[in-house]
């Protein structure tokens, strides 16, 4: 496995802390005793991972066997399910439709909702029903002047209709879905360029922001490629190839231009910007030349012609002396060449043949501008340049007696293009690249410069910038597996946000990714690799919305202990924690329930936790402390607060959105003018008054109690017993009657009572991130399967990642509906 150097520094902390975690787990010896110990521990870690992988395999085999014997049963269940849906439609949905919809959406209306006689027909007509569902969910239907639908009936209506309209036959009618061709996003671009060329291209940070869809910035549909970005890709390609491959610096050029009136000695001739010289007179140009060589002097001038000679200008520089005729009375350019030495040089221009006959003839010079330009002779150096490592790695073949330039180019370019395209470059692609390079050489470019140009073409090729998944004519109908190289690419961008390493490409080449055992082993190694910090940073960073922390802007006059440093430490805590849970292969629910976290002294003090010394992060037990799990991380608590106070609504919504996958419907549009009396009391009391408005109640009954359970943490995540002089009341009741008090009971609720919801939620989020598209109703098949399989493995983290990779939406491509 090749490990690229030069990972940006934020990556390392995760590795270090994960390493320390292992030391704690596997050894009682003091930390950092010697390198040997570290090696040892890593070895035992590897053994653990191998065990995990064996379990994975065992479970898969077992499930396969189960699948065989259960085949008949499955079919039976399918038909029973269909029957049940039919009953739901006939007995429960149709009466609701009749009451709430058919008055306006009967036959012959613009939108007809009474045309489907059976659940099967409903599904065939899914488009219409999905839109109807959205309207019911939004509360925009039935309309205000129609029959009123109370909140709980609305929820029920929605659920029933959804069951009928979007149920999917996983066995007979599966669809693996279709991701829109994904462009590399900023992170992926920078990582890929680094792994491909060894150049860390920092300006990629300045690329236009990648738009976010479904909460993530790697969604094919919204990753656009405007001209602005293409410009930056082109510029990047020029710079990256220049840095990766050494070529001698380009020669210096020198250029100066002055208007006639600006020349030395011109003041007495100046007429505007022009030097108008009516009798013998001299103006001069002074230039500080950075090199010696041939320079071209261009006069732009016209003459008032008279007598038998054209207007003449004598140009003198040092010993050089030339005469320039200016025969036209229209402005023209006149150029001569001068050999000039480096340093300060003065070039004098004299009008030498003045001619004047009063009233009859007048010969004058009008000098508009003077330009001096030159280019340094090519630099010839005998000293062999110190080639960058990337240069030697990329240009592994050079033209020689045995190898023509074209042959060497072919070797170099086909390897580079194959890595860049993440699949073998085709013959015709290589031929075209070689031709491009040979053109450059024919124009006088060096072998290296020609390679640079070919590399540039590769770096802005759609095959590099996009994760291309080619379709072949026969796979346009049904879901079919993507190619091994495409699979390798998906895996590697999922876990590393970068191109596959050589090992993964080789596995694709040998078609070993089909081999589940080898694939799982590789996934295990990839999770261990520091590059999977990219997964932590980008998946967790977006799933938990930590990226929004920078724009949270708590009011520092109220929260005086909060600072940018604290903010960064909070983020680091959550990232390290996520990585720790992932790499230790703990149950995914640990994210919510953990009684440990990762802190350093500054952050521990901020939280009021004693006994942590030093700046480095380490695992800290939180037993007996009012903290534990993501919900009590300062990062999460801050990002869900307003600048001046906590927002139970935002916190509740955050939990519903990100942990339970039950996003509340959006606030109704055109919220009626809230002509209400001012609300009074504590925040909780005001919220309760607010909830008395039935328009608000349905959703806030769900959001607010969840948020209030976290009221013991202020808007920047510190513990508090009192708020506004009153003791904090962190109790809540959900609409279904579930009662809880405080963060601890809330997280127990999430991890136990709502465990299934939580697992489905993180599965769906991770699947979206992994395949780069939003999930559709038909993805429920895959999600159900993943959740079930992972559940059989105590929800351990590595299994979740593995099962996502093994799922149909990841392994195959289907179609859009």
């Amino acid at each position: 496995m090749s490990r690229q150097p030069g990972h940006t520094s934020p990556d390392y902390w995760l590795t270090e802390s994960a390493l320390k975690l292992r030391l704690r787990v596997f050894s009682n010896r003091r930390l950092g005793e010697n390198a040997f110990l570290v090696t040892l521990v890593c070895e035992s870690w590897r053994a653990v991972m191998n065990r995990i992988i064996k379990w994975l395999i065992a479970s898969c085999l077992a499930l396969n066997a189960l699948a065989f014997t259960a085949c008949d049963a499955v079919e039976q269940t399918e038909s029973e399910a269909a029957k049940e849906l039919e009953e739901i439609y006939q007995d429960r949905v149709i009466p609701l439709l009749r009451t709430y919809c058919w008055d306006c959406h009967g036959a012959d209306e613009e939108v007809t909702l009474n045309g489907d006689a059976s659940a099967v027909e409903v599904r065939a007509n899914r488009d219409v029903w999905v839109r109807a569902l959205a309207q019911i969910r939004n509360g925009s239907m039935p309309p205000p002047d129609g029959p009123s639908l109370d909140a709980s009936s609305r929820v029920e209506f929605q659920k029933l209709l959804k069951d009928v309209a979007t149920s999917v036959d996983c066995v007979n009618d599966p669809n693996a879905g279709k991701v829109a061709m994904r462009r590399l996003n900023r992170n992926e671009y920078r990582n890929t360029v680094r792994d491909l060329t060894g150049v860390d291209y920092a300006p990629a940070e300045g690329f236009p922001g990648d738009d976010v869809g479904y909460g993530f910035d790697n969604i094919g549909d919204v990753l656009s490629l405007p001209p602005l970005l293409m410009e930056k890709y082109l510029k990047a390609a020029i710079q990256i190839t220049g840095e990766a491959i050494y070529t001698p610096p380009a020669p210096l050029v020198y250029e100066i231009q002055k208007q006639g009136g600006q020349l030395d000695g011109a003041s007495r001739f100046a007429r505007g910007s022009i030097a108008a010289i009516y009798s013998r007179g001299t103006v001069s140009l002074t230039a500080d030349l950075p090199f010696s060589g041939r320079f071209k002097l261009t006069l732009r001038a016209r003459g008032d012609q008279a007598g038998d000679q054209p207007v003449r200008v004598e140009v003198v520089s040092g010993k050089e002396r030339q005469v320039v005729d200016v025969p036209s009375s229209q402005p023209r350019e006149y150029s001569i060449w001068l050999r000039l030495a480096r340093g300060s040089r003065k070039i004098e221009m004299t009008f030498i043949n003045d001619y004047y006959v009063a009233g009859k003839a007048d010969r004058n010079l009008h000098l508009m501008s003077v330009r001096l330009e030159g280019q340094q002779d090519p630099v010839v150096s005998n000293i062999a340049p110190d080639l960058p490592a990337s240069h030697r790695r990329i240009i592994f073949a050079n033209p020689s007696e045995k190898l023509t330039a074209d042959q060497a180019t072919t070797a170099v370019v086909s390897r580079f293009a194959s890595r860049a395209f993440r699949r073998p470059a085709t013959n015709s692609e290589v031929e075209r690249l070689v031709k491009l390079a040979s053109q450059v050489r024919e124009d006088g470019g060096s072998f290296e410069a020609a390679i640079q140009v070919a590399m540039q073409a590769i770096l802005i090729s759609p095959h590099f910038l996009f994760k291309v998944e080619q379709s072949t004519p026969e796979d346009r109908v049904d879901s079919s597996p993507i190619s091994p190289y495409e699979l390798a690419t998906r895996i590697s961008y999922f876990l590393w946000s970068s191109m596959p390493d050589d090992e993964l490409l080789l596995m694709a080449h040998q078609d070993h990714l089909k081999d589940e055992r080898r694939l799982l082993e590789k996934i295990g190694r990839m999770i261990q690799d520091p590059r999977s910090n990219q997964f932590v940073e980008h998946f967790a960073g977006q799933w938990l919305q930590l990226r929004n922390l920078d724009s949270a802007e708590p009011d520092k006059s109220i929260f005086t202990e909060y600072s940018d440093e604290v903010r960064d430490l909070m983020r680091r805590e959550t990232m390290t924690f996520f990585a720790g849970v992932m790499r230790a292969n703990l149950p995914v629910t640990t994210l919510v329930t953990a009684d440990f976290s990762y802190l350093n002294e500054t952050l521990a003090r901020y939280y009021g936790i004693e006994g942590v010394r030093g700046e480095q992060f380490r695992k800290v037990s939180l037993k007996g402390i009012q903290r534990g799990g993501l919900l009590t991380h300062g990062s999460v608590l801050t990002v869900t607060s307003n600048p001046t106070r906590t927002s139970p609504v935002k916190r509740g919504k955050w939990i519903l959105d990100n942990l339970l996958n039950a996003p509340p419907p959006s606030a109704p549009p055109d919220v009626p003018d809230l002509e209400k009396e001012q609300l009074h009391g504590t925040l909780r009391e005001r919220m309760e008054q607010h909830r008395q408005n039935p328009a608000c109640a349905a959703c806030h009954q769900m959001m607010d109690p969840l948020g209030f359970a976290l009221e013991n943490y202020d808007a920047v995540g510190r513990w508090r017993d009192r708020e506004g002089g009153e003791p904090v009341d962190a109790s809540g009741v959900l609409p279904d009657g579930t009662q809880f008090r405080g963060a601890r009971e809330l997280r127990d609720l999430l991890a136990e009572g709502r465990k299934e919801d939580f697992m489905r939620c993180i599965t769906e989020k991770m699947l979206i991130y992994a395949v780069g598209r939003g999930t559709e109703y038909y993805d429920q098949c895959a999600i159900d399967e993943i959740v079930e399989k992972v559940g059989q493995r105590d929800n351990q983290f590595a299994f979740l990642i593995a099962e996502i990779i093994l799922s149909d939406p990841f392994q195959k491509k289907g179609h859009r509906e």
Partner: protein, 453 residues
């Protein structure tokens, strides 16, 4: 007699500064022909967007016509009152929910320049109308090096759901080149400067172009060919992505060829140092961007610009004017006096920056003796009227600049509420020379702009 131009007109400043383009491009012969006629200065248009609506009580003047009393929001821009109109009653129907439920913010910015009603999606199959700036740019594309520029102050959202089921692609882009192609905005004034004047330094001595710089066009040609081959093998969804790629490559290519269209006039020479990057202070950031916009217009690098003060539904706070609460949170004021005051403060902060922009535009004198501001049409406003009600009628709109004499400025013009904002756009497009009979939900060209009423 035509004045002869210095091709190397220097912009002395700190760091890199701009010089005129080089070689034959600005050779005096060319300039002679270019400068020979008393060419009319070109007409420009710019669209400035602010999110979350306004505190309308402080915005809308009581009186109509030229004699209106300046309202509190416009206090900081009073000195320019003769140069702009306040337009009341314009409406953006596309921003209304039309049965899609919540998401007003995303809708309001998307509809702001398109007049369309974007498809509600968190990503899959995004779709919007084409925006006024892009439609117009498409038609007058040959005129300038950049057919349009898209700028803003706030980065795209980094995570999460931007607005009630609308992809962040909606909330952070207001210019759309095609129904599925949002045009990303540039936020770094230094990067804008580089785009406008790339590679042109005032230094007399520099390096020649390297081989790899010289082959930019060949490389673009090469990948065009790549893309065309690839296109044949892709399903429809992906082909759309590749179409976008092809468009962008061609656009960049045409710009490489079009370098020679950067022509500065002797008296219109920008004298501005390259901004080092994005400043910390919002005020300074905004002003640098307006400097860049002025420079772009002045050098006729583009005639069409769009600019977002912030993304739709932005919740950034404005401590510089004492507002520590988020903008969006404050806009849902629920009649709270303090929140409404906060909104009013933010509105004034934004309008004060507009004032800065108008000042910069008015400082540039153009060949026809008018100022750049005279020769421009600058639309400023929001797609939401009151942030609490989220209504999309009675929009706060300012139209600054007299459009090279086409607009009678200095007035408050009250239109019948419900008049499509797109009527204004249709009128503007036609002034720009674009051919159109309708735009968005327009019902005709907006009247009364040219005459006193």
């Amino acid at each position: 007699m035509p004045s002869t131009l210095s091709r190397r007109t220097l912009l002395r400043g700190i760091g890199t500064s701009v010089a005129l383009p080089m070689m034959h491009v600005m050779s005096p012969t060319r300039l002679l022909s270019a400068a020979a006629s008393d060419e009319e200065a070109p007409l420009r248009m710019a669209f400035l967007y602010v999110p979350n609506g306004m505190h309308m009580a402080d915005w809308t003047p009581d009186q109509d016509g030229a004699g209106y009393a300046i309202t509190p929001t416009f206090a900081g821009i009073e000195k320019h009152r003769k140069s702009f109109n306040v337009l009341t009653g314009l409406t953006l129907d596309g921003a209304r929910a039309h049965g899609d439920g919540g998401g007003d913010h995303a809708l309001s910015v998307e509809a702001f320049l398109t007049g369309a009603h974007p498809r509600k999606t968190n990503g899959t199959d995004i779709q919007n109308g084409v925006s006024i700036d892009q439609v117009t740019a498409e038609q007058i594309v040959k005129a300038t090096r950049f057919s349009s520029l898209e700028l803003g102050l706030e980065a795209s959202a980094q995570a999460g759901n931007c607005d009630s089921g609308y992809s962040c692609a909606y909330a952070s882009n207001m210019s759309w080149r095609g129904p599925t192609n949002p045009v990303a905005k540039e936020m770094d004034p230094g990067a804008v400067f580089d785009r406008l004047f790339s590679g042109q330094t005032s230094k007399e001595s520099r390096r020649a172009k390297t081989t790899r710089e010289k082959y930019r066009k060949s490389v673009l040609d090469f990948v065009l060919e790549d893309a065309k081959r690839l296109q044949k093998t892709l399903p429809a969804v992906d082909r759309r992505k590749l179409d976008e790629y092809l468009y962008s490559v061609r656009d960049v290519e045409s710009r490489l060829l079009g370098v020679e269209r950067l022509e500065l006039t002797e008296e219109g020479v920008p004298d501005f140092p390259r901004p080092p990057g994005v400043p910390q202070e919002l005020k300074e950031h905004a002003e640098l961007m307006f400097d860049m916009m002025t420079l772009a217009m002045q050098t006729d690098s583009t005639r069409i610009l769009s600019f977002m003060y912030a993304n739709a539904g932005s919740n950034r706070s404005y401590p510089e004017v004492g507002v520590n609460e988020g903008h969006h949170a404050s806009s849902h004021h629920g009649k709270s006096e303090q929140k409404q005051q906060n909104i009013a403060k933010i509105n004034r902060f934004h309008v004060d920056r507009l004032s800065y922009f108008l000042t910069r535009l008015s400082q540039v004198r153009e060949a026809n003796g008018k100022t750049l501001l005279d020769n421009s049409m600058v639309v400023y406003g929001s797609g939401i009227s009151d942030g609490d009600r989220h209504n999309h009628d009675d929009l706060p709109i300012v139209l600054a600049g007299s459009g090279a004499g086409r607009i009678q400025t200095g007035r408050h013009i009250r239109y019948e509420n419900g008049t499509p904002l797109c009527n204004l756009y249709l009128w503007m497009m036609r002034q720009m020379g674009a051919e159109a009979t309708h735009f968005g939900d327009s019902t005709g060209e907006l009247d009364r702009l040219g005459s006193l009423s």
